[in-house]
């Protein structure tokens, strides 16, 4: 199989580099620095050591015995990214990129965040490496994820609320890109997902591929075989790209990405790019975008801030068209039910993003035999969502 993306950053027709000229030379420089770093043994040693001694990798693989019995079908295994330092897979990429930023001589990092997990991860990595840090976050997301806003501030980051557009992740990325255009000489933009212009989709996938590499070994040991199904939620798509990367060559392993179906299929009520979107350019890449007839980005909705985004990583668009990965949608209500189910069945409170992946599993587990395994990427923990779940369900804390 040919390794994607190609030298222009394309995954089939998707990807590329649609940015203002000011960012082109810096992106070329970043691409080169990334290639050099990944070939440099000392860089890899330092990153591996941090992932082990600081993040707590490898994260465990947990057999969800009660959930499996309850659903009656496949054996369900959870890849426990929620046990990473800071509570989600985001730290894998944040550490990688911040190390790279330091290597490139950048003294300042910026990032966007939706659910706040990437923002917290970057603030953490910046504190560890002594970089100055600013995080952009939509004001609607600040409201939904106020705990994470305070966490970032405690970690020494400056959090800038973005009050434009829908006041969510998309608008935070716009503002982060504008900051980067302005301060590109001193600043590295730590993009949080497999989005944006080349080399970000490739680089973030590579930094997250540790999830898949570990899970591949762990499930073969625990289950004695590869899983029949691997499931992950897809906002931008970094946790999914991370876990899928190890299983892509095995055609017998079915891969499913779960998008936010929100309140329903009407445009504006969901974030299901593959159900309601069409190819276009947003945030530097050509991919599926939720848009109106004039090419303007459509509003999105999801109970989960991390999935509330109108575009998707270009490699996912490629996997969608090539049918290697199937993309499905799960509603707000189904995700909330799965949030409760895993909390009560396994004593694990998943992030609302992750709950979307679990909700899909609850629908299909029964159609698999008990000899088969389903692997779910438990991409993050749900502590950050407790207040929002209470609010949505009308519980006063």
């Amino acid at each position: 199989m040919k390794r994607l993306p190609d030298e222009r950053g394309y995954f089939g027709p998707y990807g590329g580099r649609f940015v203002p000229e000011t960012l082109m030379a810096p992106l070329q420089e970043l691409e080169q620095a990334f290639h050099e770093a990944t070939r440099d043994k000392s860089f890899r040693r330092e990153l591996d050591a941090l992932l082990r001694d600081y993040c707590g990798r490898p994260t465990p693989l947990t057999f969800a015995a009660r959930l499996s019995a309850h659903l009656g079908g496949a054996r369900i295994y959870l890849k426990r990214e929620d046990l990473c330092h800071t509570g989600a897979h985001k730290i894998n990429n944040a550490l990688g990129q911040c190390l790279l930023a330091r290597r490139m001589g950048k003294v300042r990092v910026i990032a966007e965040t939706g659910a706040g997990q990437h923002g917290v991860a970057v603030a953490t990595a910046a504190a560890l490496l002594g970089l100055s840090c600013r995080i952009y976050m939509g004001t609607e997301d600040e409201r939904r994820q106020s705990l994470n806003v305070y966490r970032m501030k405690l970690l020494g980051a400056e959090v800038v609320g973005v009050d434009a557009g829908a006041k969510t992740l998309k608008d935070a990325i716009n503002e982060a890109l504008r900051d980067w255009v302005t301060n590109v000489n001193t600043t590295h933009y730590v993009m949080g997902s497999v989005l944006g212009p080349h080399p970000y989709p490739m680089m973030v996938r590579e930094f997250q591929s540790v999830i898949g590499a570990e899970a591949w070994l762990q499930i073969r040991k625990a289950h004695g075989a590869l899983p029949s199904l691997v499931v992950a939620c897809v906002g931008g798509g970094s946790n999914a790209a991370g876990i899928f990367s190890a299983f892509l060559p095995y055609q017998k392993v079915k891969l499913v990405g779960v998008e936010a179906g929100g309140r329903g299929p009407l445009l504006g009520h969901h974030a299901a790019r593959f159900a309601g979107g069409s190819p276009g350019v947003l945030h530097g890449t050509y991919t599926y975008v939720l848009q109106d007839g004039g090419g303007n980005t459509a509003p999105t909705h999801s109970v989960s801030a991390g999935l509330d985004y109108p575009a998707v990583g270009p490699e996912h668009a490629f996997w969608k068209d090539s049918r290697r990965v199937e993309y499905v949608q799960v509603s707000d209500d189904e995700a909330l039910s799965a949030f409760h189910l895993l909390s009560e069945m396994e004593g694990i409170m998943p992030a609302l993003e992750t709950a979307h992946a679990l909700a899909f599993v609850t629908k299909v587990a029964r159609s698999y035999s008990p000899a088969e395994a389903i692997l779910v990427n438990l991409s993050g923990r749900g502590d950050k969502d407790v207040a929002e779940v209470a609010r949505v369900e009308g519980v006063r804390l």
Partner: protein, 267 residues
């Protein structure tokens, strides 16, 4: 036959000044006002107008142009409507028009359909902010086929190799972004600006228009000494926002741009 853009640059050069390029966002304050605003800019002395196509996610724009795009979209501006305005302008005027757009409104319209309709409407050039040389191939071909110029952009971060690369794409001019940053008035333009403009002209072998951040007559005057064209955008857009949708808007804008145009003269 030389193009309207060529003619405008030649006329300005003959008059010993840089071409004055005035930017406004189409549809701000409302689509019905854009035609009359273009006329006001022409009466105020604009040699070329740059018409911004409003887009929901303008990553190269600062707060002033972002707010204008939001107003324009809220007022129902579409790319179809923008082309219609240019068509109407052409009944009475040969003022060169350059559209300033992001890729996605053009892709949603359909690239070759857009190129054909833009040419028919009388658009002279198109600047696609988020389409750098590497991605420009399909745009260049579609526009060239119908005689519309693709105007390449260069920035202070552009390497020498990148500057040379746009030589093949450019026709009457290249657009040089004055500073690393988004659109919007700058208190100070970079000290290296003059050297950079000279280098770009030498390496690209084309006329150079300078934009982003140029707001005041003193700045126009400084840029005009080295550049072939000077773009003023956000300052005009801010003035439009300040006045709002009132009958005196057109006269006020004409008066506002006159000193900017006067400052393009090289003494």
């Amino acid at each position: 036959m030389s193009s309207r853009l060529e003619t405008a640059f030649r006329r300005a050069a003959k008059e010993k000044r840089a071409a004055f390029i005035a930017y406004i966002t189409a549809g701000d304050p409302s689509p019905a006002r854009t035609l009359e605003l273009l006329r006001a800019l022409e009466r105020g002395g604009a040699d070329i107008v740059e018409l911004g196509v409003p887009f929901s996610d303008p990553i190269a724009d600062g707060p002033i142009n972002c707010a204008a795009a939001e107003r324009a979209l809220a007022a129902g501006t579409t790319l179809t409507g923008v082309l219609q305005t240019v068509r109407e302008l052409r009944f009475a005027s040969s003022l060169p028009v350059v559209l300033f757009s992001y890729a996605n409104p053009i892709l949603a319209y359909g690239l070759s359909r857009f190129a054909a309709d833009a040419a028919t409407a009388g658009v002279d050039g198109v600047l696609v902010t988020d389409v750098p040389a590497e991605e420009a191939g399909p745009y260049y071909q579609a526009f060239r086929r119908v005689g519309v110029e693709l105007i390449p952009m260069l920035a202070p971060t552009s390497t020498r190799a990148r500057v040379k690369q746009v030589k093949k794409l450019a026709e009457s001019f290249v657009y040089f972004v004055s500073h690393t940053g988004v659109t919007g008035p700058q208190a100070q333009l970079p000290v290296e600006l003059e050297d950079q403009v000279r280098l770009v002209r030498k390496l690209a072998g084309k006329r150079v228009a300078v934009g982003f951040g140029v707001a005041k007559p003193e700045q126009v005057s400084r840029v005009a000494k080295v550049a072939d064209g000077v773009v003023v955008g956000s300052a005009i857009v801010a003035r439009i926002a300040e006045i709002g949708d009132r009958p005196e808007l057109f006269g006020e804008i004409q008066r506002f741009v006159q000193p900017l145009r006067a400052a393009t003269r090289r003494f």
